[in-house]
C-alpha cells in the first residue's frame, strides 16, 4: 500500500497550461503518475503535451474519473481553485502554490471540513506527495526517492518544510532504505493536512514500518504530534526539527516559522518528541543515520 496516493490515482492539474504547471505536470507524467487532465476556463478542448484541457474540474472528473487534483494556480486564485476541486468531486487536493493569505487558508480549511468532510487537502505551500514508483504529485524530483522494497522495511516521511522533504528522501536513498509515501505538508499557518493525519495513516499502512518526521520552529504542530505518537503510534519514529539556532522574534521565511514569546522553539519541540520516544537528530544527515539504526533493528 501507500498513503493518500498510489498507482491508481488519476490526477487533474489546475494550472497545467501555465509554465510551472506544464513543467511539473510533465515531470509527474514522466514519472508514471496518471496525469489525466488539466483545467482552464477558456482553453477547453486544447491539450498540453497530449493531456486534455477541460473548462472545469467537474467536467474533467466526469470525463476522466480523476480522484485527485494538483493546484498550480497563483495565490489570488487559490481559494476559488480549492473549492472548485472539492465541488468538482475529487477526494484529494494538493496545493503547491505559496503566498496564500492565512485568512483564505483558514476559511477553506473550515469550509472543506464542514461541506466536504471526505476531501483531504494537502498544502498550500507544500512540495506535494510521492508514493515512490507509483505516483508523484507536485514538485519533488522523483529520482531522489527510493521505491519501497517488498517485505520492507520501508519508511513513511512527513515533513513541514519543502527542501528538507527532499533532503530526507535523499538521505534514505543514500542509505538504501525504501520509502512508502513521502508527504510534504508545508510550512503555512493552516496546513490542510497535519502531521497527525499522516502519522495516523502511516501507523495503519502495511507497507510502512518506520516513520520519519521533519519539523521546524513555530507553532505547536510538533508538540501535538508528539502527544499523538505517545498515545497512538507503535511504529518507530525518527525526527529532525529545523531552526535550533534561530533567534526569537525573527520570521525564518515561512509564515509559520517564528519563535515568539519563548514558544515554538526547536528545543521545546525536540524535548516533546524525545519524551514520546522519538529519536531526534541534530541535522538531516544525523536523522538519516538514526533511521538506519532503527531500520536495522526491525
Amino acid at each position: 500500500m501507500a498513503i493518500f496516493v498510489d498507482e491508481n490515482t488519476k490526477v487533474i492539474y489546475q494550472g497545467l497550461t501555465g509554465s510551472q504547471g506544464s513543467f511539473y505536470g510533465g515531470r509527474n507524467a514522466e514519472y508514471g503518475t496518471k496525469v489525466v487532465a488539466g483545467t482552464h476556463p477558456k482553453k477547453a478542448g486544447t491539450d498540453v503535451n497530449g493531456v486534455p484541457i477541460f473548462a472545469s474540474v467537474a467536467e474533467a472528473v466526469a470525463e476522466t474519473g480523476a480522484t485527485a487534483s494538483c493546484i498550480f494556480i497563483p495565490a489570488p486564485g487559490v481559494r476559488a481553485a480549492v473549492m472548485e476541486a472539492a465541488e468538482g468531486g475529487v477526494e484529494f487536493i494538493v496545493c503547491i502554490t505559496e503566498g496564500v493569505p492565512a485568512h483564505d487558508e483558514a476559511w477553506f480549511f473550515n469550509k472543506l471540513q464542514r461541506d466536504f468532510p471526505n476531501v483531504q487537502l494537502l498544502g498550500p505551500n507544500c512540495p506535494g506527495i510521492i508514493s515512490p514508483g507509483k505516483c508523484n504529485i507536485g514538485i519533488t524530483a522523483g529520482e531522489i526517492a527510493k521505491e519501497p522494497t517488498a517485505g520492507g522495511p520501508n519508511v513513511g516521511i512527513v515533513s513541514r518544510t519543502g527542501t528538507l522533504t527532499y533532503q530526507a528522501l535523499y538521505e534514505l536513498k543514500l542509505k538504501d532504505i525504501g520509502v512508502s509515501t513521502c508527504v510534504g505538508i508545508g510550512g503555512d499557518p493552516v496546513p490542510g493536512t497535519s502531521f497527525i493525519d499522516c502519522l495516523e495513516r502511516f501507523e495503519a499502512d502495511d507497507e510502512t514500518q518506520a516513520i520519519m518526521m521533519i519539523g521546524e520552529i513555530g507553532g505547536s504542530a510538533e508538540e501535538e504530534a508528539a502527544e499523538f505518537i505517545k498515545a497512538n503510534v507503535s511504529k518507530p519514529v525518527v525526527s529532525y526539527v529545523a531552526g535550533v539556532t534561530a533567534p526569537p522574534g525573527k520570521k525564518m521565511g515561512h509564515a509559520g516559522a517564528i519563535v515568539s514569546g519563548g514558544k515554538g522553539t526547536a528545543a521545546a519541540k525536540r524535548e516533546a518528541l524525545e519524551d514520546a520516544g522519538v529519536k531526534v537528530g541534530s541535522n538531516p544527515t544525523e536523522a538519516g543515520e538514526l533511521m538506519v539504526g532503527v531500520v536495522q533493528n526491525l
Binding site: 492565512a102 483558514a106 473550515n110 519533488t140 524530483a141 531522489i144 527532499y166 521546524e216 529545523a242 541535522n283
Partner: protein
C-alpha cells in the same frame, strides 16, 4: 508586517473603531500645531516597533504647548531598546474609568480565529494568562461563519466587564473582527480598550500585524512596508525580494527553502562556525535571484566565506549553477564559495560549475562536508 501605533489607529478608524483624535509627526513644531488643534491635555507617544515605551519615557502627558515642546523634544531621537524614535503621535488625552484587553488572532492548533477579552487590561496579557487565566474570556470563531452580534454579546458578558461597557464593547469587537478579517491581519490587539467615565468604549492603543501574503489585495499596505525596521543588509535583500534575516557570524548562507536555510544555519553552528545570515532564495529562483543573493552576501563586510546549499525542486540545479556563474561575472566576490548542489537537474548543474571550480569555488557532496569546509575557510581567513 507590524504597524506602528498610529498606523494601527488609522487602520482601526477605517473600520469605524473609535480612536482618539490625533496625528503623527516628526518635528517639535508640528507636535505643537497638532496639540493646538486637538485640544489640551494631550499625550505625546513615541512610535517604535517595540514594547515598554512608557517605562522608557516614550509616553508623556502635556497640559500646554510648552509641555508638548519639552516632551516632543525629549522623545524624538530617544533610544528605546535600540529603536531610535523618529515619529511621534500626538492625541487628545482620555479620561479612563476602566481598562480592558481585546484581541483577535489565528489559533493554529484549533484552525479557528481566537478572540480574547479581559477585564484586566493595560498590562501584559501574557502575565494575565499566567497568573489569572480565568480572567481572559476566549471565543473560537469559525472563519466561514464569522462573528455574530449575539456571539459577541455572550462573549463580552463572559468577560465580566462593567455592564456600562457591554454595548460599546460588542460594537467595537464586531468592528475589530471585520478589520481583522477584511484587513488580512495576523493580529489585531487593543490594550487598553477603555471605558470612559461618560460610558463610551474606546481603543486607546493599537497593535496590528498584517499578513505580508495579502498585499496583492490591499494596495495601501505598501505605505506600511516602508516603515518596517530592518538593518542595512535586510533592507538591501528586501528590495531584491529575498527572504533575509541578519545574524551575527561570518559564514554567508544562501539556501533554497526556509527549512533548508534554517537547517544550513543550524549545521554551520553545529560544526563550530557562526552564520552571518539566513537567506532563502525561495522557489522558482532564477539566475537573477541567485546573482542578487550573492551580491547581498558579498556586501556584508563580516562575511569570510559563503555556503550555497541548494536542493533542486522548484529551483533547478542548472538554473542555480548558471546563476552563480552569471553572478561571478557580475560582481567581484571576495569570499570563497562552497556549494552543495542536489536534486532536480543537479548533474547538469554540477557540470556547469565544474569548469569554474578553483580555490574560490568548491563543490561538496554532503551538507556536513560543505559546512566543515566553509567554516574552515572562514577561520583561515581570520574569522573568530
Amino acid at each position: 508586517m507590524d504597524l506602528l501605533e498610529y498606523q494601527g489607529k488609522q487602520f482601526f478608524a477605517q473600520y469605524g473603531i473609535p480612536v482618539s483624535d490625533g496625528e503623527a509627526c516628526t518635528t517639535v513644531d508640528d507636535a505643537v500645531a497638532i496639540a493646538d488643534r486637538v485640544g489640551y491635555p494631550v499625550v505625546v507617544k513615541a512610535q517604535v516597533h517595540v514594547g515598554g515605551r512608557g517605562k522608557a519615557g516614550g509616553v508623556k502627558l502635556a497640559d500646554n504647548a510648552d509641555e508638548v515642546r519639552e516632551h516632543a523634544g525629549n522623545i524624538l531621537g530617544l533610544d528605546i531598546k535600540g529603536h531610535i524614535v523618529r515619529t511621534i503621535w500626538i492625541e487628545v488625552a482620555s479620561d479612563i474609568a476602566e481598562e480592558y484587553y481585546a484581541s483577535f488572532t489565528l489559533d493554529r492548533s484549533a484552525k479557528k480565529h481566537l478572540g480574547m477579552l479581559s477585564a484586566e487590561g493595560g498590562v501584559e496579557i501574557e502575565t494575565v494568562a499566567e497568573e489569572n487565566p480565568d480572567a481572559i474570556a476566549k471565543i473560537w470563531i469559525d472563519p466561514v461563519d464569522g462573528l455574530s452580534e449575539a456571539d459577541a454579546r455572550s462573549w463580552v458578558e463572559a468577560a465580566n466587564l462593567n455592564p456600562d461597557a457591554t454595548d460599546g464593547a460588542v460594537d467595537i469587537l464586531t468592528k475589530l473582527y471585520t478589520a481583522y478579517t477584511e484587513g488580512d491581519a495576523d493580529l489585531c490587539e487593543i490594550n487598553p480598550l477603555i471605558l470612559k467615565p461618560t460610558g463610551e468604549v474606546h481603543a486607546l492603543d493599537a497593535k496590528v500585524t498584517l499578513d505580508g501574503n495579502s498585499t496583492y489585495r490591499h494596495e495601501d499596505y505598501e505605505a506600511y512596508d516602508a516603515t518596517q525596521v530592518r538593518d542595512e543588509r535586510e533592507e538591501d535583500a528586501h528590495a531584491k525580494g529575498l527572504q533575509y534575516v541578519g545574524l551575527d557570524g561570518y559564514v554567508g548562507v544562501i539556501a533554497n527553502g526556509a527549512g533548508l536555510a534554517m537547517s544550513t544555519v543550524d549545521i554551520v553552528n553545529q560544526v563550530g562556525g557562526s552564520p552571518a545570515n539566513f537567506l532563502d532564495i525561495g522557489g522558482g529562483a532564477n539566475a537573477d535571484v541567485m546573482a542578487g543573493a550573492l551580491e547581498t552576501i558579498n556586501n556584508d563586510p563580516k562575511v569570510k566565506s559563503i555556503f550555497i546549499n541548494i536542493f533542486g525542486g522548484i529551483t533547478k540545479g542548472d538554473e542555480v549553477a548558471n546563476g552563480i556563474v552569471t553572478a561571478l561575472g557580475r560582481v567581484e566576490i571576495d569570499a570563497p564559495i562552497v556549494i552543495r548542489l542536489d536534486g532536480t537537474n543537479a548533474a547538469e548543474g554540477r557540470e556547469i560549475l565544474k569548469s569554474h571550480e578553483s580555490d574560490m569555488l568548491q563543490s561538496k557532496a554532503t551538507m556536513v562536508e560543505a559546512a566543515e569546509t566553509v567554516v574552515a575557510l572562514a577561520k583561515e581567513r581570520g574569522a573568530q
